[in-house]
């Protein structure tokens, strides 16, 4: 971190865009067999301005970590700032942000199939509908008008078209043929969710939510739940976080809960009727039906760069430490709030994904 201060700040910003993965998959029993057919994958962004990110594997019992599996298998690296990954039944798509690359590997072996670079510009996150992947792209971070969602043909592994969207598209989820994109705003501040028709490949409508929507997920009733962290103080126009529920039939906000102006929550996790979020070093648990910003913290004093509630109810918190050394994944019991285990992973762990 002794480089140009600007590089540092911009790199810092890139890091801020990591968050929970809310992709929807149709559960299928995996037919694949190989060292990485079961368990969990961890994306590690890697160091700021140089170097590369990695993917670690954690076994099913959440005890053993195999580091840098892509490198080990392929003798190559994933590129600079590994942002996210997305799985199909057979493949894993690793999105690398600064290198503008998607690396396609076989799910069970992590053997590389292809690297996709054409048509990508600062890619962030991907969701899959049928034979297509939809990838949010910032474009040039300094330009507000060149952001888009790239359409990846999973059969040919080529970007076949792009859908222009507003500034700073980040998380992306899908329901049926509809795609929902949360616009955090890139280096700036945005406050919308774009609704895209995957068939028509255009933006159907945009829905206003809180400033800097950082995570979105569907609840059991199929409504879209969005958590915005609010605009930070340095913008000169600080706003508090906002919890929003969107009816996906009418594409309108049906419920809104505001945090105070200095509260900036993040890392929404909807688990059944419960909602977990992170705010100021603590994890809070409340409910969809009666969302409150005043519940008691179930975990406090933690420093998470991201968190995910796994299917067995365990909370996996990514601790990036000083961002200049290897991080950890901290596993918590969400009922008791006790720390179960700490696993050593790579530099700047960004998310934990369940292999399914």
């Amino acid at each position: 971190m002794k480089h140009s201060f600007y590089t540092f700040c911009i790199a810092t910003l890139l890091l801020f865009s990591c968050n929970t993965d809310d992709d929807i998959f149709i559960p299928v029993t995996p037919e694949v067999e190989g060292p990485y057919a079961t368990g969990f994958l961890v994306t590690n962004e890697g160091p700021f301005s140089n170097g590369f990110g990695t993917v670690d594997h954690i076994d099913e019992s959440l005890t053993t970590v195999t580091s840098s599996i892509y490198q080990a298998v392929n003798g190559d690296n994933l590129g600079n700032i590994v942002q996210s990954l997305t799985m199909t039944d057979d493949n894993v798509y690793v999105v690398t942000n600064v290198s503008s690359r998607i690396t396609v590997v076989e799910k069970d072996t992590f053997e590389e199939i292809i690297q996709i670079t054409e048509g990508l510009n600062n890619p962030r996150n991907m969701v899959i509908i049928g034979d297509n992947g939809y990838v949010t792209n910032w474009g040039d971070p300094a330009v507000a008008t060149d952001d888009y969602v790239a359409v990846l043909d999973l059969n040919t592994n080529e970007i076949v078209s792009t859908i222009a969207v507003a500034e700073g598209p980040e998380q992306i989820v899908a329901k049926g043929d509809a795609i929902y994109v949360a616009h955090k705003g890139g280096f700036g501040v945005n406050n919308i969710v774009s609704v895209i028709s995957s068939e028509q490949e255009n933006v159907v409508t945009t829905i206003e939510v809180g400033d800097v929507p950082n995570s979105l997920q569907f609840d059991t009733a199929g409504r879209l739940v969005v958590l915005a962290s609010g605009a930070p103080a340095f913008t000169g126009n600080e706003t508090g976080g906002q919890f929003t529920i969107i009816d996906t039939d009418t594409n309108t906000a049906v419920e809104t809960v505001l945090f105070t102006d200095t509260e900036h929550p993040s890392f929404l996790n909807v688990v059944g009727d419960d909602v977990f979020y992170y705010l100021g070093g603590a994890v809070y648990k409340t409910t969809i039906a009666d969302f409150t910003t005043t519940s008691t913290a179930i975990i406090s004093g933690s420093f998470f760069y991201n968190m995910t509630i796994l299917s067995d109810g365990t909370l996996a918190g990514c601790n990036a430490a000083d961002f200049a050394s290897n991080g950890t994944v901290e596993l918590y019991d969400t009922t008791t709030g006790t720390l179960l285990n700490t696993l050593n992973v790579g530099i700047v762990p960004g998310n934990v994904y369940e292999i399914n």
């Binding site: 910003l13 301005s49 690296n77 971070p141 900036h264 100021g280």
Partner: protein, 618 residues
């Protein structure tokens, strides 16, 4: 690269032997811009980089010092940002001093050594060890000094050096100077530009994309003798320096880049010197301007700007009680304002008072005590105290010792940053260090040997960390401990018409984060340089080698950049060499063995490359 310990004896001699007609006359032959450097470095290692060494290299100061000092540079490739690490300290703990004034950026606290030229300065000195008492904030690990001299009665001369090198590198240096009995003037320009598109070795056709740079460094110096009679000399001096740099920041092995960066720096210093046999007074006034523009995309005009303007006034009074006792008092005021896209516009006033007491107790033993108190708006500044001695014994040997407290004040970025994802902290304390060093030096005829041991303990190191809301902010968090050994050797052998000069330096550095117990990132345990030059009549040749140990790139020491050894060779021939007229051609091969090495992770350096220069003096 001769180590020089100049004792008060020498200095007094310099002041008195210069007397030509009247024994009371006090004007020295060469008027150094920063006499403090040599006069007040008791117990400290001072190393002069010779003109011929500077001439051999390309313009950037990084390139000269990397091969000729124990300073380690974190250089983002040629032309990129390059910061210095002295004895394992951080980039803001090395001060760059221009004609006696600390010119580290008010915004970052650092100097980017790729925005400093090595050309057209008369003095380039490296001072290892604490120097905050004399040179202010940041002179913790050491300081690098650029100086312009004033000389009278030298007439008119001009030197022009054009050059061309690999990767379409064009350099040109010119300086002209004139002086008579009471007037001196010089003006110099140096310009370099490079496509800087070297191939990355051992890769699949990757090369240094977006690495172009050009820069222009202009200097102007003037001296005017107001009065030079009896025991009083009045002298007016003016020093000016303008730097205009434009560059792109190249990508890395894993990430492309389209960043651009512009530097615009000017420094102007006026001095009135009132010199006498017992009393010297020097009044200085300076204006220092720095500005950068950062382009996230160099194809657009969108940029972020940051700048600072600093006004400085300082008075230095030296009173010689007798030939062996000397008291110097310096009072200084600074008014600094800073503004920028991501900085809260702020001004800062600071004042300081420095007292230096130096005494030659015996012919062999000289000691000095130094003290500084600074007052900075909004910060508590520590009282700094230092002491050192030089003890000469057994004819050829000198034992030196120095201990001091030093500091670094939080920069404007540290205190007043307000930008995306990060915010400054106005409640920071200065970083402080307690340090000591002991040295032994043997100087005899054509052989000089030096050995030094140092220890530095720094407290309250400022580090940027994310707070619980994920916003990065600086705090006084870490402590570090540094110790090590430095060795230096200079040897000159003359055999008939052949002259062989050998210079070697070695540094062993341990620098640990106290809480982690790990080596600090980008601090090599070992660095060594070896230079051998051969001169025969008009023909000179040299080889320069540098060895750097591996460095860790993560704070838990889990990743590293491998060590390397590189060699440069060169030769020069004087086609014409007459009184006042000279024509010389030079050729140089950098990285002779085409070594693939990195100074910062994932940023390769050029393989074997070439430089041709011609120097014309008339």
């Amino acid at each position: 690269m001769k180590h020089r310990f100049l004792f008060i004896v020498v200095v007094l001699c310099a002041l008195t032997t210069a007397a030509q007609i009247d024994t009371l006359q006090v004007l020295p032959e060469v008027i150094l811009s920063d006499s403090k450097l040599k006069n007040h470095s008791v117990g400290i290692a001072l190393e002069k980089i010779s003109d011929s060494t500077i001439q051999r290299s390309r313009t950037a100061l990084t390139e000269v010092l990397r091969a000729n000092s124990t300073i380690y540079f974190r250089e983002n490739g040629p032309g990129g940002v390059a910061s210095a690490s002295f004895r394992g300290t951080n980039a803001a703990q090395t001060a760059v001093v221009w004609n006696g004034i600390n010119i580290n950026s008010q915004l970052t606290g650092q100097s980017d050594f790729n925005t400093l030229s090595s050309k057209n300065y008369d003095q380039l000195d490296v001072r290892a060890g604490g120097g905050s008492i004399i040179y202010g904030s940041g002179a913790v690990g050491g300081s690098v000094h650029l100086g312009n001299d004033i000389r009278f009665n030298k007439g008119l001369s001009t030197t022009v050096t054009p050059g061309y090198g690999s990767f379409d590198t064009q350099i040109a240096t010119a300086k002209t100077q004139f002086s008579n009995t009471n007037f001196y003037i010089d003006a110099g320009l140096d310009y370099q530009r490079s496509e800087n598109d070297f191939d990355y070795l051992d890769t699949n056709n990757q090369f240094n994309e977006n690495g172009q740079y050009d820069n222009l460094n202009a200097i102007f110096n003037m001296g005017y003798l107001l009065k030079n009679k009896g025991d009083r000399t009045h002298l007016l001096k003016l020093h000016h320096n303008t730097y205009v740099g434009n560059r792109n920041f190249s990508g890395t092995l894993t990430a492309p880049s389209n960043d651009g960066y512009e530097d615009r720096n000017t420094r102007t210093l006026a001095i009135w010197e009132n010199l006498g046999t017992r009393f010297n007074g020097k009044l200085r006034a300076a204006h220092i301007f720095e500005q950068f523009r950062y382009f996230a995309n160099n194809q657009t005009d969108d940029n972020d700007l940051g700048k600072s303007i600093r006004y400085l006034a300082n008075y230095e009074a030296t009173y010689k009680l007798d030939r062996k006792k000397e008291l110097t008092v310096i009072g200084e005021v600074n008014h600094i304002s800073a503004a920028g896209a991501s900085i809260v516009s702020t001004t800062r006033n600071q004042g300081s008072i420095v007292a230096l007491w130096k005494q030659q107790l015996t012919n062999q033993f000289t000691y000095e005590i130094q003290a500084r108190q600074e007052l900075v708006e909004g910060f508590d500044s520590p009282f700094l105290l230092g002491a050192g001695f030089d003890y000469a014994f057994a004819k050829a040997y000198t034992l030196t010792f120095n201990a001091s407290k030093n500091y670094r004040i939080p920069t404007f970025n540290d205190a007043y940053w307000s930008g995306p994802g990060a915010v400054g902290n106005p409640d920071l304390k200065p970083e402080t260090s307690i340090q000591a060093e002991i040295g032994l030096k043997r100087t005899r005829k054509n052989l000089t040997l030096g050995l030094r041991g140092f220890y530095i303990n720094t407290d309250d190191l400022i580090q940027w960390q994310p707070n619980l809301s994920g916003i990065w902010s600086p705090i006084n968090i870490a402590d570090s401990e540094h110790y090590g050994i430095e060795g230096a050797l200079d040897y000159t052998a003359i055999m008939g018409s052949h002259k062989v000069t050998t210079t070697a330096q070695y540094a062993y550095t341990q620098a640990e984060d106290v809480a982690r117990g790990k080596q600090l990132i980008y601090v090599p345990a070992h660095k060594a340089t070896l230079g051998i030059a051969h001169n025969y009549g008009r023909l000179s040749s040299y080889v320069q080698t540098t060895f750097v140990d591996r460095v860790f790139t993560t704070t838990d020491n889990s990743a590293q950049v491998d060590g390397y050894a590189i060699a440069h060779i060169g030769t020069s021939y004087d086609i014409l060499h007459k009184q006042g007229t000279k024509l010389q051609v030079m050729a140089r091969v950098n990285n002779l063995f085409n070594t693939n090495y990195q100074t910062v992770a994932f940023r390769p350096n050029p393989g074997r490359n070439f430089l041709l220069q011609t120097t014309i003096t008339f």
